[in-house]
C-alpha cells in the first residue's frame, strides 16, 4: 500500500472534503472531526514520504500507469525539496485544523460545513502543487488553492474583506493566467508538458526567444502570486481584514508554496545552466529582492496595527526567499528552501497569536498590547517565540535560514543582499521589542522606569481556549524543532540540489577556494 503514497497524500484531504460535502449538511458536527483526522493522517503520510525520500532520493508515481513514452500520462515526482515542503504544509494544516473548532463559531457566519470543505480543498490544492510533476496539472492545483483562498477570505464579517478579496482575485487571476501562458509557450517550444520532459528538450536547444518569453511570463506570474514587493499590493489588506481563521490558514502557506513552485521551475524545468548560463540578469532580480526586503520592513515599521505589520513582514520574507534563490549558488538556494519551511511556522505562530488576541476585531492597535504579558501570559509566550524566530535568534529556525542566506550572499559576492538581510533583522528586532515594551511598561512613552505607574490590568474578553493553546504551542514548538533539525534538513536539501545539478558556486563567479564538501558540518 505504501507505493501509492505520493497520490495518497493528495487524496486524503480531497476525500475528506467530499465526505464533509455529503455528511456535513445533516450533521455539521462531523466536519471538524473529519478535518482533524484527515490532516493527522496527512502528517503521518508526509513523514513517511520524507523518510523514504531522504534515503532513496527521488520517488515518481505515474497516475494511471502511463509511463512509456514519457509525457502521455501525469507523473507525480517527490524529491528532497518537495518532501520537506509537503511535511511543512501538512503540519501547518494540522495545527490550523486543531485551532479551528474553538475559533469557528465567532468568526464565520453560520456555515461551519462550508468552511471545512473549503479548508480541506485548500489543503488538497497545496499538496497537489507540491507533489505534481506536470506543468499543466500545477496550474489546475494553483487554481483550486486560489479559488478556496478567495472564498475563505471573503467569508468574514468585515465589509472591507470583500473589496480586498476582489482585488486579490483579479491579481491572482492575472498571475495564474501568466503562468498558464508560460506553460503554453513551453508546450509550443518543446511539445511536452511533463517537467522532466521539458527539461531534456530545453537542454537540447536552449537558445530560443520563445523559451525566454515563457520563462519571463512564468516568473512574473509567480511573483505576482507570491506578492513580491512591487506586485504584492493586494496582500496586506486581504490578510488584515480577512477572517482570522482564514488568514491563519492561508498566510503561512499560499505564498510559501508559490516560492517553492518558483524554485521547482528554476531548478527542474528550466535547469540551472539555462537560468544562470546567460548574462548577469540574476543580479537584477536579487536587487529587486533587496528592494522588497527593505520596503516590507519599512512598511511594517509604519504599520499601526498588529495584523498589517505581520503582513508587511510577509512581504519582506518573500524578498528573503526570492533573493536567496537567485544568488546562483547552492547555499543561497538551500537558505531559500529552508526559509520556506521555517517561515511557514513563524508566520503561523504569529497569525495564530494575532487571531487569539484580536478576536473578531480586524484592527488590533499596538496600544492594546498594554499589560498583555499579565493578561495572556501563555499566548504572549508563544508570540515571543515567533518574534524571536523572525528576528533570527538561535535556536529558532529564523537564525539558521538567515545563516544560510548570508553565507550564500557572501559566496556570491552580493553584499547589497547581505546588508539588506542584516538591516531587516534589526528592524524586526525594533518592531517586536516595541511590542514587548508596550506589553510590559504600557504605551505612554517616557514614563516607564522602575518608579513608573504600574500598568493597570483590566481583564478583557479575550480568553484563549484549549484548542488555541495547543495549536499555538505546536507552532511555537515547530519553530524551534525546525531550527534544531537544520543540519539534517539542509543535508537533505543539499543532496536534492546536487542531484538537480545546482553547482556550489555560480558558474561565472570564481568562488573563493571553498573546498569543504557540503557535508552537513553543523
Amino acid at each position: 500500500m505504501t507505493e501509492h503514497f505520493p497520490v495518497f497524500i493528495v487524496l486524503i484531504p480531497f476525500f475528506g472534503a467530499l465526505l464533509c460535502g455529503l455528511l456535513g449538511m445533516r450533521w455539521p458536527r462531523v466536519c471538524p472531526g473529519i478535518a482533524l483526522a484527515g490532516m493527522g493522517l496527512a502528517v503521518v503520510v508526509a513523514a513517511a514520504i520524507l523518510q523514504r525520500v531522504a534515503e532513496v532520493g527521488e520517488w515518481s508515481y505515474f497516475v494511471g500507469k502511463w509511463e512509456q513514452p514519457r509525457g502521455i500520462g501525469i507523473e507525480l515526482r517527490v524529491d528532497g525539496i518537495n518532501a520537506l515542503v509537503l511535511s511543512a504544509v501538512a503540519v501547518v494544516g494540522w495545527l490550523v485544523a486543531v485551532f479551528s473548532p474553538g475559533r469557528l463559531g465567532r468568526d464565520e457566519e453560520s456555515k461551519p460545513t462550508q468552511f471545512y470543505i473549503l479548508f480541506l480543498l485548500l489543503m488538497t490544492g497545496l499538496f497537489g502543487i507540491t507533489v505534481t510533476g506536470d506543468a499543466f496539472n500545477l496550474y489546475v492545483m494553483i487554481e483550486i488553492s486560489a479559488l478556496t483562498g478567495y472564498a475563505l477570505l471573503a467569508m468574514g464579517p468585515h465589509s472591507r474583506a470583500r473589496l480586498a478579496t476582489f482585488n486579490y482575485l483579479i491579481m491572482g487571476t492575472i498571475g495564474a493566467s501568466f503562468y498558464l501562458l508560460g506553460v503554453g509557450y513551453l508546450y509550443l517550444h518543446t511539445g511536452m508538458l511533463n517537467m522532466a520532459g521539458i527539461h531534456t528538450v530545453l537542454a537540447a536547444n536552449p537558445a530560443s526567444s520563445v523559451a525566454l518569453v515563457a520563462f519571463t511570463l512564468i516568473m512574473v506570474g509567480l511573483w505576482l502570486k507570491m506578492a513580491l514587493f512591487p506586485l504584492g499590493g493586494w496582500l496586506p489588506n486581504v490578510y488584515t481584514y480577512g477572517p482570522p481563521l482564514a488568514a491563519a490558514a492561508a498566510a503561512p502557506l499560499v505564498t510559501k508554496v508559490t516560492v517553492y513552485v518558483m524554485v521547482r521551475m528554476m531548478v527542474t524545468v528550466f535547469g540551472w545552466k539555462w537560468v544562470f548560463g546567460g548574462g548577469g540578469w540574476n543580479e537584477a532580480v536579487v536587487w529587486l529582492a533587496v528592494v522588497a526586503i527593505l520596503a516590507g520592513a519599512l512598511m511594517a515599521l509604519a504599520a499601526k496595527d498588529l495584523k498589517r505589520m505581520l503582513c508587511c513582514l510577509i512581504l519582506s520574507e518573500v524578498g528573503y526567499m526570492v533573493g536567496g534563490a537567485w544568488l546562483a549558488n547552492r547555499w543561497g538556494m538551500t537558505g531559500a528552501i529552508y526559509h520556506i519551511l521555517g517561515d511557514a511556522f513563524m508566520t503561523l505562530t504569529l497569525f495564530l497569536a494575532a487571531g487569539v488576541l484580536a478576536g473578531r476585531a480586524a484592527i488590533f492597535k499596538l496600544e492594546r498590547f498594554e499589560g498583555m504579558f499579565r493578561r495572556q501570559p501563555w499566548v504572549m509566550a508563544a508570540f515571543a517565540v515567533g518574534a524571536l524566530g523572525m528576528i533570527g535568534l538561535p535556536p529558532t529556525c529564523g537564525f539558521f535560514s538567515k545563516w544560510f542566506l548570508i553565507r550564500g550572499g557572501l559566496e556570491a559576492g552580493h553584499y547589497g543582499y547581505v546588508g539588506a538581510l542584516i538591516v531587516s533583522s534589526l528592524i524586526n528586532a525594533v518592531l517586536f521589542f516595541r511590542i514587548f515594551e508596550i506589553a510590559v511598561f504600557g504605551s505612554k512613552p517616557g514614563k516607564h522606569g522602575y518608579d513608573g505607574p504600574q500598568v493597570v490590568v483590566e481583564p478583557d474578553g479575550v480568553k484563549a481556549k484549549g484548542g488555541d493553546l495547543l495549536a499555538l504551542y505546536g507552532a511555537a514548538a515547530m519553530v524551534v524543532v525546525v531550527g534544531l533539525g537544520s543540519g539534517w534538513i539542509s543535508g537533505v536539501i543539499q543532496r536534492a540540489l546536487e542531484v538537480n545539478g545546482v553547482p556550489l558556486a555560480a558558474p561565472a563567479v570564481l568562488a573563493p577556494a571553498v573546498d569543504e564538501t557540503p557535508t552537513n558540518d553543523h
Binding site: H4, V7, L11, F14, F15, L18, G21, L22, M25, Y61, F62, V63, G64, K65, W66, P69, G71, I72, G73, I74, S110, K111, Q114, F115, I117, L118, L121, T124, G128, D134, F136, N137, V140, M141, E143, I144, L147, T148, Y150, A151, L152, A154, M155, R162, Y185, Y187, L188, H189, T190, G191, M192, L193, V201, S208, S209, V210, L212, V213, A214, T216
Partner: protein
C-alpha cells in the same frame, strides 16, 4: 492609473509580440507540438488502448484523468465558494437589502408564451444532454457539455418561469449533495482501481469487477463512469451558482 495601465499593457504586448517572431508557422504539421511523440501516441493508440474513437475524450478521461478529476473539483469548489459567500439563511439578517434602482424590464406580458415554449423545450433539452453525455466516446461531447446542458435546462425553467418552480424540482439539499456526489463518483472509480491493485485511476483494473470485459473495454467503461460523475457535478454546480447569484443568496425571489 490609466497611464500606468497603458505602460504595462504596451510592455507585455511588446514582449509577447517579440516572442511571436520565433513561433512555428500557424498550422505547421511538423511543429514540436503537433509532430511530437506524445500527439502521435494519442491519435494512434486511442482505439488500441481504450476502444474510444474520440481521442479528446480518451486523453481527457484516461491519459490525463488526474487533471480532469481536479477540474471537476474546481467546479465543486466554485459551487461551495459561492454558497459560502452569498448564502443567507435568516432574512432578518439586518443587512440593508439594497434593491437595484433600475426600472423593471418591460415585456412581462410575453411571460405566457415564453413560459409555455420553455416548458415544451425542457424535456428535449434534457434528452439531448443525455445523448451528448453518452455519445462522448464517438463524437465531440462528454461529461462537461452534457452536465452543463442538464444544468441549463433547469436555468431555462428558472429564467422563463421563476426561481421557485426550479427550486421545487431541484431543491437546495439535492444539488449540494449531487455536487459532492459527482466528484465522489469520479474519485471513487479511481480509488476502486487502486483497491484492485493497480495505480490510481488505472481503469484496466476494473476488468476484475466488470463481467466479461478485457482491459481495453474496462478502460472504455471506466471513462464512461468518470464522465457520469463529471456530468452530475457540473449540472448541480451550475444550477447552484445561478440560484445563489439570481436571488442574492436567499433562494427566494429569483430574477
Amino acid at each position: 492609473m490609466r497611464a500606468f495601465g497603458l505602460i504595462i499593457v504596451l510592455l507585455t504586448g511588446g514582449l509577447l509580440l517579440w516572442g511571436v517572431r520565433d513561433f512555428p508557422l500557424f498550422g505547421a504539421a511538423d511543429s514540436p507540438a503537433n509532430g511530437g511523440v506524445v500527439t502521435a501516441y494519442y491519435l494512434q493508440h486511442t482505439m488500441q488502448d481504450a476502444r474510444v474513437p474520440n481521442a479528446v475524450t480518451t486523453v481527457l478521461a484516461d491519459y490525463r484523468s488526474y487533471d480532469t478529476m481536479f477540474e471537476t473539483a474546481v467546479i465543486f469548489t466554485a459551487g461551495i465558494a459561492i454558497f459560502a459567500i452569498l448564502r443567507v439563511f435568516d432574512d432578518r439578517g439586518g443587512r440593508r437589502l439594497r434593491k437595484s434602482q433600475d426600472a423593471p424590464v418591460k415585456g412581462d406580458q410575453y411571460r405566457i408564451i415564453v413560459g409555455t415554449t420553455s416548458r415544451l423545450l425542457i424535456a428535449p433539452i434534457q434528452l439531448f444532454a443525455l445523448y451528448v453525455l453518452v455519445h462522448g466516446h464517438h463524437s465531440p461531447g462528454g461529461g462537461f457539455q452534457g452536465g452543463v446542458i442538464i444544468g441549463a435546462s433547469f436555468l431555462l425553467l428558472a429564467v422563463a418561469r421563476n426561481l421557485q418552480t426550479s427550486l421545487d424540482r431541484f431543491p437546495e439539499r439535492r444539488f449540494l449533495a449531487m455536487g459532492a456526489g459527482g466528484v465522489l463518483i469520479y474519485a471513487g472509480t479511481g480509488l476502486l482501481c487502486m483497491l484492485l491493485g493497480r495505480n490510481f485511476l488505472d481503469y484496466g483494473a476494473l476488468q476484475a469487477v466488470l463481467p466479461a470485459t478485457g482491459p481495453e473495454m474496462a478502460r472504455s467503461h471506466g471513462i464512461f463512469a468518470v464522465e457520469i460523475g463529471v456530468a452530475v457535478t457540473v449540472s448541480a454546480s451550475m444550477f447552484a451558482v445561478y440560484a445563489m447569484l439570481a436571488s442574492r443568496g436567499r433562494l427566494k425571489d429569483g430574477l
